[in-house]
């Protein structure tokens, strides 16, 4: 719990193999776990570029080709060396290939990459706000924080809401009302903030959700750290492909993010961030 903005855990240079030890399903999501004996312990909010060591390609549209970015969900296995866990949702050829892997198969990984969450201001209540697969970096953050957290998670439906089990004490909202509150997680957030007390918000999810989180927090002068997504080719600043608009101009999200301060974002940021689903 020592992350300070501006610092980062550096990655070993070059891709390394990660042997999968477990594959678990949580409703619509898959959790892949594997040993990373030579890797450093990542900061919460950092990510890895992943691909399968075998048959990365030959899927829909003759893809995937480039590695894909995934937040670290959780670390473990202090005894026998570092274990990394990732949370995946199959949305295209890359995630489909990764989701079909099983224990014993091998990933090629690069990371940890990017800059993760910064520690909360002392005395602030910590709110973790996640949407869909965006809950991933919140789990490791909850694990590492030595303060209590309020966890608000939004999902499409019950099948996806199964992912809520990955955090403890989560309050859930679903779009279809099948589990928890019928509505948006950002409505839950507004209520929580309006209940009073100094709070700090950590959020990850689809761009429209993050935009509401940003605006809601900005209105109330609540500090927010937002973990964004953008299409990435490399993850280490090499391609200049992952830029998003920020107060500092177009910045490479893989290098300056994926966690950005709400204050340096605007609605414009979220109009282009994301994997392109909604842009």
């Amino acid at each position: 719990m020592t992350a300070v903005r501006g610092e980062r855990v550096q990655a070993p240079f070059g891709v390394r193999a990660l042997r999968l030890t477990r594959r678990e399903e949580y409703g619509a999501y898959v959790v892949l776990s594997g040993g990373d004996p030579d890797g450093p312990r990542p900061d919460p909010g950092q990510f890895y570029m992943l691909r399968s060591s075998e048959r990365w390609g030959g899927g829909a549209g003759e893809r995937p080709f480039l590695p894909r970015a995934f937040s670290v969900l959780r670390t473990g296995g202090d005894g026998e060396g570092l274990e990394l866990q990732f949370l995946l949702e199959a949305v295209g050829p890359g995630t489909e290939r990764l989701c079909e892997l099983d224990a014993g198969e091998e990933l090629s990984v690069l990371g940890p990459l990017g800059r993760g969450f910064a520690a909360p201001r002392p005395g602030h209540r910590v709110l973790l706000v996640g949407g869909g697969v965006g809950i991933a970096p919140l789990a490791i953050w909850q694990d590492r924080l030595d303060t209590g957290t309020t966890v608000l998670l939004g999902f499409r439906d019950a099948h996806h809401a199964a992912g809520a089990a990955l955090l403890s004490g989560a309050v859930v909202a679903t779009d279809d009302g099948s589990v928890g509150d019928h509505g948006l997680v950002t409505d839950l957030l507004e209520s929580e903030l309006d209940a009073g007390g100094e709070a700090e918000v950590y959020a990850c999810g689809p761009p429209p959700m993050l935009e509401v989180v940003r605006a809601v927090c900005a209105e109330r002068s609540v500090p927010a750290q937002l973990a964004l997504e953008a299409g990435m080719a490399c993850g280490f600043g090499g391609c200049f492909g992952c830029v998003v608009p920020s107060a500092r101009g177009l910045i490479r999200l893989c290098l300056e993010g994926p966690v950005l301060d709400g204050a340096e974002c605007s609605s414009e940021t979220f109009a282009v961030a994301g994997m392109g689903h909604s842009g």
Binding site: C234, C239, L250, L255
Partner: protein, 295 residues
Amino acid sequence: MNPSFCGLGLAHPVINASGTFDAIAAHRVFGDALYEHFPFAAFVSKTVTVEPRQGNPPPRLWELPAGLMNSIGLPNKGLEGYLASDLPVLAELPVPLIVNVMGFTREQVATLVGAFAAREEVAALELNVSCPNVETGLIMGADPDEVSRLMNVVRPLTEKPLIVKLTPNATDPAAVAHAAQEAGADAVSLINTIRGMALRPGTDQPWLGGGTGGVSGPAVRAIALAQLVAVRGAVGIDIVAMGGVASGTDALEFLHAGAGLVAVGTENFRDPSAGSRVSAELDRLASRTPFSGAG
């Protein structure tokens, strides 16, 4: 293999393709391990223009079968910014520095070449001519006469090796290469990315913020090889070959076809240490196959 490319005395024949590796960013991400295991025999920096550029609006990337399409749009700090912030850092790299420059007029290119001619940190210059000359409307690198006129202006400005980077979007790259050689180029490099496009799924609107993009990666390697062979037949000067190199086998094919150096581009995105792997594989292959060098 002891490449004598342009007299630079490089340790092996594998360098990076411009715009596919940011050594300064990579140092932040990987730390000193980057310098200790630097993957390239020379470092080519991303294209520098006279004025700073933001680059194209996102999205800038579109994945292709065994390839990538980008519309990055040459973001850079401009000449002054590069000289002030980047050059001092890049000068500390463990390998020679090749600076890639582009101008929208001959005068702009001259400004850039003139500025770098004076800097001993710079081992060679690569001229990116894959852009329109705003005065003539012609893509500089698609027209032999444009390239001659450009070289006539910039050649007298420096004794450093000048490498003309050809565009593949031309009817006859070999003719352009020949014009470059005749006007005093020390080498040519090829291929730059091939013009491509994708639509936002289900719409008639372009996906890329820049409208069109440039295709790179294994998908273009056979096209690069055909252009390399055509160019090799037309010039005697050194050639840096690139386009989809992902393995020592790929690199060896380009060397067999007459390249003096091979550049790794898109493959860096799949693994930042790809350059080291390619040059190690090349070593192993070269010790098996009789290879007499080229160029």
